[in-house]
Amino acid sequence: MDSRIATIARCTLIEAMRTRLPALVLVTLLALLAASFFIESIAVVEGDRLQTGFYASGMRLSGVFIAAIYVLVSVTREFNDKGLDVLLALDLPRSHYVLGKLAGYLAIAALIAVAAALPLLWFAPLAAVAQWTASLAVELAIVVAFALFAIVTLNQLTPAASFVLAFYLLARSLTAVRLMGAHPLAGADTLSHQVIGFMVETLALVVPALDAWTQTAWLVNGPAGWSATGPLLGFGALYVVLLAAATMFDFYRKNF
């Protein structure tokens, strides 16, 4: 890695440490863990299953929320503090800045995923936890890459946060939307349905179906197998590359 990219990535990580991101993740983790023990204690049967399911699904959503908000706020602050202007005045290609920031955020995403998975080692088989962790890391990688793309493109926090939220909700519900669109109860022949169906299928080409990722079922029912999770990881890596390229494309076209 270019030393300038590595430096920006390291600075991004240091910034995360100094803005109490680890403390936030730890507090969230402990709160969800405590709540999961409470749920386990009131369950009559399948207490372990309930505890694992609650903690894993809660930590997944919390991780996505924390990672996305962190990226959006961090880049917004950099825009507002004029730190970016100073950086761009140096002999630094814009692509290096994007790659450096992205590398730092990807490292943060991976650390959040690993931290989230640690308590699961007591509740679920190692193979299942490994698959869940890898999937969560790639899911968070997609989220942080998309958040970076959104804030660079839209510049302001509120529209960017809304864009990220909409993307994530769509990604989690896309399969259900496609299924409902493919087999409507009525009106399948209408023009409006054909148009909407085409739009949904087009969206499916560029939006990942995150409902198949990081499934709690892997932890409570048994591992899915690397043959099932492997392609998800490959696809996630490709999607991060696509988002990074899109971010660089937009960033190069910005006037400062």
């Binding site: 825009f79 970016l84 290609p93 692509s95 510049n155 399969t175 259900a176 939307v177 496609r178 299924l179 409902m180 493919a182 087999h183 109860l185 499916a204 080409l205 560029v206 179906a209 696809f235 490709l238 999607y239 590359v241 696509l242 990074a244 390229a245 899109a246 660089m248 494309f249 190069y252 076209r253 910005k254 006037n255 400062f256």
Partner: protein, 242 residues
């Protein structure tokens, strides 16, 4: 960041453009290569206990009950697949309906679903199960739930061809639902008539008229005419019996 006009695409380095286009093409090709999602019917799970749901409702049991009612109602139409009602597990359906009523006792919706949706399947056992459920629930709040039991009485008489069951339901309404409409409270008289128990029907109808519960002039006239025809039928049947 200051707002300003965007720079031209020519300012984007070629490697960045190349990676962007290549990644986009790969992404589209990958997704297009993936098999389309296929629909799979999921079994209706058992509901949580009302106490658990009340705790989860965070003080809004009625709102939760309404949401769960819509969930149950939509269960036959899962994403991409429509499940016929007859394929649903009716024991689970009645458990859900009972839970919904526990959460929101004033709601009529679960009973409407029981009588108008789930009891409409062409399966006698399921129709009887739903009517039994409505009958059980009727006794918990007769004055508000009589109309659903009246529906079941009519269903029992005309669809199930079980006039005795219809009479049971009609008598339950008469005994339990003091605020029910007169037509519902009088239903047992006509069912008794259908059963050939003319004398019992005559006595009940006479008693009803004598009690003064019926005040509508036209209704009194109709019931009086009915009583007369019952008495005539009773007299004409006496010689035959002798």
């Amino acid at each position: 960041m200051k707002p300003g006009a965007e720079r031209s695409i020519g300012t984007v380095p070629r490697p960045v453009l190349f990676v962007f286009v290549a990644a986009l093409c790969l992404q589209i090709a990958w997704q297009a290569w993936q098999p389309r999602p296929s629909a799979r019917a999921e079994a209706l799970g058992a509901p949580a206990s009302p106490a658990t749901l009340r705790a989860l409702a965070l003080g809004e049991p009625i709102a939760l009950a309404q949401l769960l009612t819509l969930y149950l109602q939509a269960f036959d139409n899962q994403p991409g697949v429509s499940i016929p009602f007859r394929d649903l597990d009716y024991a689970r359906v009645t458990a859900w309906l009972g839970t919904l009523i526990e959460l929101d006792p004033a709601a009529q919706y679960p009973l409407l679903m029981a009588t108008q949706l789930y009891a409409q399947v062409p399966d006698e056992a399921r129709q009887r199960l739903m009517c039994g459920f409505v009958h059980d629930q009727f006794w918990r709040d007769p004055d508000r739930r009589w109309r659903w039991l009246a529906h079941c009485a009519i269903m029992a008489k005309h669809r199930l061809r079980d006039t005795r069951l219809a009479l049971d339901y009609a008598e339950a309404i008469t005994r339990g639902a003091r605020r029910a409409s007169n037509w519902a409270r009088q239903m047992r008289i006509f069912i008794l008539e259908d059963l050939g128990e003319i004398e019992a029907a005559r006595v009940l109808l006479g008693g009803l008229l004598a009690s003064g519960e019926v005040t509508e002039e036209k209704e009194v006239h109709f019931l009086t005419e009915r009583l007369k025809s019952l008495e005539a039928a009773g007299k004409s049947s006496l010689p035959a019996n002798n």
